[in-house]
Amino acid sequence: MKLRRLNDPGIQAFAAYLGNLANDPALPVPVQLLDDSAASEPLQTSAAVEARAFATRFAAAEYFHGVIAASGLAGIDRDRGLWTWLTLFYFDQLCPKDGHGKRKAGESARYVPNMDDARRFYRHLIYGPFAVYRLYQDKPQLLPVLLMNPLTVGTSETFRIFVENSELLAAPCAVDVANRLYYDPAKGKLRRGAGSKNDGGCRRLQDFINQITLTFDLQRLSADALLTMLPSEFKSFVTAYRQQASQLFATN
């Protein structure tokens, strides 16, 4: 289906549907809004999306980045209508029915983006992963730690910590180290304790890196160098990473 955007009445209608889901979780998704000319409008592009299942937020971000890049659309970061339309198009994946045919929607920012709020924009289930993928489109191998969750899981602690700290997010060494420490490629998920506030957890990594940004330029710091600077509280994660890396090397 060709890309469109919901207009203001369309966004309001979709928001009302989300609100009504709390009282009637079996309400049918208002998919008619997608191509209803009273609720949506076409865009100046021939780009289209197709119904497909995404295993992770990473897979979705990669796909939407490709679609948006091919569309040639400008001003997409402020286009609430476009992102809300995409949410509606993929709503079955973003807010799936349970075994009884009922849906439980999360906060509205997950479906209708808050583009002007630096602490909420990234909660949108499509735009958030898209924006982070766009930043690392040349180094997507660093992103599993931030985007390995399924689409229905909004904001992991590691994702939130990075995306709320623009300097941290923009530093490849920081994302790379987080990926090495906290992402277990063998299991395809975060290591236990990654999102913890305790020693060695991602919040502590944020604190440590925030401290060294007072002294070093993160953009001139390699991940290997950063890894060697970590204090002992990260030892268990560093050890797990090194063991896994050496096994991988031996296997190959």
Partner: protein, 253 residues
């Protein structure tokens, strides 16, 4: 919360020495930077970089400006990836290679581009923005990083921009806003030993100093003294604007 001072020895680049102007729009969006680093004690071979970023779209781009003794703008200064200029901030970094690491010698962060209107108008201390607030009528949007706070009004409120200037709203909300911002600065933000007068934190603290009649306490770990100073600044501010009178005897519409 941590109270942080800059003890690293890195120098703060004054805003006046890092003037950045956004030029063009859409695909030709870019910027010009005028960097004046001559008055700083910086190794001439230190490297200079300008970073553009916008927190709410996770956008970032870095531009290398050569060496501190003669910063040279790169030919490519496109910000087309940002699509529009709204909310773009800049950071200037001066670093020296030391042991394979880029040690930070000087920095200016949260630089807002110079307004291109050139009409000499001053920038508001608390800009007003409107967006959905999920049930709240207003809140202080501190953003992330070094961005200055803004007053966010829920976009569902009719005449929302005027709402921020409504006398009753001001009487009720402004003391709370002032208190919240001062508390944030004195309990969470990094403060420099030499305040930059163009930094939002310095501007709000100066506003507080004028209201309270004294500087904020030197020891920011003295919670009682900090609280007392904030109370003093906020109440003096409220008295000077006669906020209670505004509510007790509102001006007829």
């Amino acid at each position: 919360m941590p109270r942080r001072f800059n003890y690293t020895g890195r120098q703060k680049i004054r805003r006046a020495d890092a003037a950045i102007r956004i030029v063009g729009s859409g695909p030709s969006l870019g910027f010009d930077a005028v960097l004046n680093l001559g008055t700083y004690k910086i190794d001439p071979q230190a490297r200079v970089a300008v970073e553009a970023y916008r927190s709410r779209t996770a956008s970032y781009k870095r531009f290398e400006y050569g060496y501190a003794n003669n910063p040279v703008a790169p030919a490519e200064r496109s910000l087309a990836e940002f699509h529009d200029e709204q909310g773009i901030l800049f950071r200037v970094k001066v670093t020296m290679e030391e042991g394979g690491l880029g040690k930070l010698l000087a920095e200016a962060d949260g630089i807002r581009p110079v307004e291109s209107t050139g009409d000499g108008s001053t920038r508001p201390l608390l800009p007003v923005v409107c967006h959905p607030l999920d049930g709240e009528a207003w809140k202080i949007d501190f953003g992330t990083g070094s961005a200055a706070p803004m007053l966010a009004i829920d976009s569902g409120i009719p005449l929302r921009h005027q709402y921020a200037t409504d006398p009753t709203f001001r009487a009720i909300a402004m003391p709370a806003i002032f208190r919240q911002i001062l508390t944030r600065i004195l309990t969470q933000e990094e403060l420099d030993e030499e305040p930059d007068p163009e930094d939002w934190r310095s501007q709000w603290l100066e506003f507080g100093r004028r209201a309270a009649g004294t500087n904020h306490p030197e020891d920011l770990n003295d919670d009682q003294a900090v609280d007392d100073w904030i109370d003093s600044a906020v109440s003096a501010f409220a008295r000077s604007h006669r906020f209670v009178d505004a509510i007790a005897a509102p001006t007829p519409a």
